[in-house]
Amino acid sequence: MNATEPRLRDTVLQNEPRLVDLWVDGLARSNLQRFGHLGANGLRQQCLRFVDEFTSALEQEPRANIHEPEFDNLRDIVEEISRLDATQGFSPSDTALFVYSFKEPLFAVLKEELAGSSEELISAVKSASRILDRLGLYATEIYQKSREDIIQRQAQELIELSTPVVQLWDKILVIPIIGTLDSERAQTVMESLLDRIVEFRAEIVIIDITGVPTVDTLVAQHLVKTISAARLMGADCILSGIRPQIAQTIVHLGLQIDVTSKATMADAFALALRRTGQKMQRTPVRRES
């Protein structure tokens, strides 16, 4: 049931090199962007590998379902091309069109070879279409997936970028939190903070929440966890940058954040210096005349 048409297989097998030539010529004429990116050789290479695997897939007399093992290699190539396209800025239609564009030379050759019987021609065309249509959709699917991977990676990078841990002074670290503190971010914050505590041998950590728009029960819970973990590593935390509305919210919600808190980072820094037994002092400025 649904096995590929034997005439299709025979025709493709006998005309492999010609198919590649026709296809590359057609692509070079119509698909300018791909041609510009890959050059004549690269394009030819892509087409050659595709036709190669298409042929060997047909040789195994597969069913028309492209998820059967016979199509493994062909799928791999389509996947590779799709991923490449996604990173090089082609549109998803470009990727699908690449696969569909193979129909033109294929049908032309089929038409020549099977000119005698229109019935055979039709069923060969139908069979080829069935495979190529699905491959085209599959290419789009993979393209979409690689794009999603890229987006996810960028989101991860953004998270890491947005939570710097800075050494402010000997034994004193500052972590300015900017933006909403969701679970995922809280996790990153906690991990990078603990690593930095070891790295800088910190005793005091100032957590500055000036840039946190709202503090609800969840955010408070994340803060408490971070503070407890830092304490287990032997570092005390000071919370700073609590805006008036946030202070009110914390009280109204009855949140328990069991930690020293200061209104501004400057106050927190002064306290941190005192606790670590350090001192900063003003000296008279000498003006150069």
Binding site: M190, E191, L194, D195, I197, V198, R201, A202, E203, K225, S228, A229, A230, R231, L232, M233, G234, A235
Partner: protein, 129 residues
């Protein structure tokens, strides 16, 4: 049977846990440490757990017990060298070891113990003559 060495260091006892803590070992440590505390009259206990990959709830409770026992015997317990991953796991488990002092490494732990001992010595010296 494997055992965890307890080293006397000045007026403190240093316990360096470098092997996986299974339950029986934890109980044995608790016993031995309280005997050593009485024997030496130490004023501080420093427990170095930098060698531990996993701290489960039982080990966490043992640490709390040791700290409690030490407090009764007038010694202060400092847990030092906890790894970041262990700290995260403990916090997720809700085991924040309240009442136990912590420090980054043995050196800092000793500093904490010595600082509190200094206070005690001061008070005694300043007493009415």
């Amino acid at each position: 049977m494997e055992e965890i060495p307890i080293i006397k260091l000045g007026r403190s006892l240093l316990v360096s846990i470098q092997i996986d803590m299974h339950d029986r070992l934890a109980v044995a440590l608790e016993d031995e440490l309280s005997e050593k505390l009485v024997e030496t009259g130490a004023k501080g206990v420093i427990i170095d757990i930098s060698g531990l990959d996993v701290v489960d709830s039982f080990v966490g409770r043992t640490l709390a017990n040791i700290a409690g026992t030490a407090r009764v015997l007038d010694a202060q317990t400092v847990v030092v060298g906890m790894r970041p991953q262990v700290a995260i796991t403990l916090v997720e488990l809700g085991l924040t070891l309240p009442g136990i002092k912590t420090a980054l490494d043995v050196e800092r732990g000793l500093a904490i113990v010595n600082a509190t001992q200094g206070e005690t010595a001061d008070t005694i010296q300043r007493g009415p003559s």
